[in-house]
């Protein structure tokens, strides 16, 4: 048998997936298992710097991401690293771009890596992919369809991609390349996968709107307004569920759904689930196996009603 694309990749879960986003970690691994895609966790990884460290200094963030890629490429011999978190994915992509195109970044990362005593990451050593690429290009819609045991038929989904998956455009050179590639203006990989699992995607205008995740605690009123916009737009589109692919967006939506109700008196009922949770249940895994009980918002009643999980 020939080796499939992405059959075994380095896995960079990141800090959020060990904390508030644990359900995403659990469901990603469970889906990988069910699909025969192997994950090899990056050894002794560090934080990518999220949205915060770049505001102290962008090159610190470049170094942090480069160390992760250096371990995956030089110590573990991988040529692909998969990051399910938009923040991690974005930062690794950005580091790749800067190391390729900016001499100063290259110089600083080289200096810091030498001082830290590990091999310097060189641009081009490894390809960074998102969990969406991993399943879309590793299994594909047809492959997925063949494995669906419990179709998501009748579940109306608003697919929410957030900011970091598509912006800014220049750090994603593989996107906007025509058929088969992801679009930065109208992303569709998550739509494609969930449709293959039987779901009905609604026409959702705020796919790449911002949830205010960078200021979720430091400017909560702003975040609550932005999240409420997204939740209300999803409901107006007729969605039962918002599917997410980023732990920061996901917990932002959950947190500010509660906060909007408590501080603005605006209640929304749309459920919030990771796309890997939905896919996992379509593949016949239980709600527990994909960590539905670890979400802040409670979708268990809804899932039971729809005979999922």
């Amino acid at each position: 048998m020939t080796e499939r694309k992405y059959e075994k990749v380095a896995y960079y879960p990141g800090c959020a997936l060990e904390g508030t986003g644990h359900a995403y970690n659990r469901s990603t691994k469970a889906v990988g298992n069910a699909l025969g895609l192997k994950l090899d966790e990056v050894k002794n990884w560090n934080c990518c710097g999220a949205m915060e460290v770049k505001n102290i200094d962008p090159k610190v963030q470049t170094y942090l991401s480069s160390r992760v890629m250096s371990i995956a490429a030089n110590e573990m011999g991988h040529d692909v690293v998969m990051a399910p978190c938009n923040g991690c994915y974005h930062n690794l992509k950005k580091a790749e771009y800067d190391l390729e195109n900016d001499g100063d970044s290259k110089e600083v990362v080289g200096r810091l890596s030498t001082k830290a005593g590990h091999e310097t990451y060189e641009a081009g050593q490894i390809e960074t992919i998102h969990a969406l690429d991993w399943i879309k290009d590793g299994i594909g819609e047809e492959g997925l369809k063949a494995k669906v045991k419990n179709s998501l038929q009748g579940v109306k989904i608003a697919n929410y991609y957030g900011c970091m998956y598509t912006r800014p455009r220049h750090i994603f050179p593989e996107k906007d390349r025509g058929e088969g590639s992801e679009s930065t203006s109208e992303p569709h990989f998550m739509d494609d996968l969930l449709e293959a699992a039987g779901a009905e995607n609604v026409d959702f205008p705020l796919k790449t709107a911002c949830c205010g995740g960078a200021h979720t605690l430091s400017d909560s009123d702003m975040s609550t307004k932005l999240v409420l916009n997204i939740l209300e737009a999803a409901e107006a589109s007729g969605a039962d569920v918002i599917a997410t692919e980023c732990p920061t967006c996901h917990s932002g939506l959950e947190m500010h759904q509660i906060r909007a109700e408590k501080t603005l008196g605006r209640k929304t009922n749309v459920k919030i689930l990771y796309f890997t949770q939905l896919l996992g249940m379509a593949l016949g895994l239980s709600a527990k196996k994909v960590g539905v009980h670890e979400n802040v918002s409670d979708s268990r009643g809804f899932l039971k009603e729809r005979r999922l999980g």
Partner: protein, 248 residues
């Protein structure tokens, strides 16, 4: 979509005489309306260069004022006073006093990068917003913003340990900004989590709070990063003409 703009004519500069007769003609009320002329003499000619010297501000000189940034801005849609195009104009023309009128909202940029996506000149306005907020703080025009406090608490933990633990970041941030942890919505959230949480996961999270996740063999990375951050800080202070005295 229309480009949201703000009027440069401020209500306090519009003068109307209630009772006015000129050459025997009654021009009371709106007939006598005039706009007080605006004279700017205190240009800050160093401002653009200083902001360009801070990370993110490098490409401000490329701007040709098309307004795509403001048009696409997430925060502008919530608050029309939030206007990146206008601020870039003020910075480039040295109108510091005008910029300072908005000093307390510039930090609110949410880094969604819609502006950077839309910008035809690769100004990277998101970076300019961060550099401007940073400049305002370094020059002492504003207090440290809640966002900067959060960034510092976060970066501090990453540099020290290599990894972060979310609950301790939240606790430290709330303490630093003097916010109570007992807020209705936070309590509700904690309740939602605890109600469904299996004992195993609760133990794991509790353990993480005590043991604090960290990257092993991190000490050399930590030392290298600490040196580098200090070096950057000194360079930035120099570029802004500030003494190199230690700040808290």
């Amino acid at each position: 979509m229309p480009i949201h703009e703000q009027s440069l004519i401020r209500p306090e500069n519009i003068k109307t005489q209630e009772n006015l007769v000129i050459d025997g003609i009654d021009v009371s009320g709106h007939w006598s309306t005039f706009i007080e002329s605006r004279v700017v003499t205190d240009y800050n000619e160093a401002m653009e260069e200083e902001i360009a010297a801070l990370p993110g501000g490098e490409f401000i000189h490329r701007c040709w004022q098309c307004g795509s940034c403001t048009n696409s801005c997430t925060v502008n849609a919530v608050n029309p006073e939030f206007n990146p195009r206008y601020w870039i104009y003020l910075i480039r023309t040295g109108m510091e006093a005008e910029l300072l009128r908005d000093k307390d909202i510039i930090w609110q940029c949410v880094s969604c990068n819609k502006c950077t996506y839309a910008c035809p000149r690769d100004v990277a306005p998101e970076g300019v917003m961060k550099a401007t907020a940073h400049w305002l703080e370094m020059k002492g025009h504003t207090e440290k913003s809640p966002s900067m406090h959060f960034d510092e608490v976060f970066a501090d933990q990453v540099i020290k340990r290599g990894k972060i633990e979310e609950t301790s970041i939240i606790r430290r941030f709330f303490k630093r900004t003097g916010q109570p942890l007992k807020q209705d919505w936070l309590i509700q959230m904690a309740r939602n989590i605890v109600m469904k949480m299996p004992v195993g996961l609760m133990q794991r999270m509790g353990l993480a709070m005590v043991l604090k996740p960290r990257t092993s063999n991190w000490s050399k990375s930590r030392a290298a990063l600490e040196d580098y951050v200090q070096e950057c800080e000194q360079q930035q202070r120099k570029a802004l003409g500030l003494s190199n005295g230690k700040q808290s």
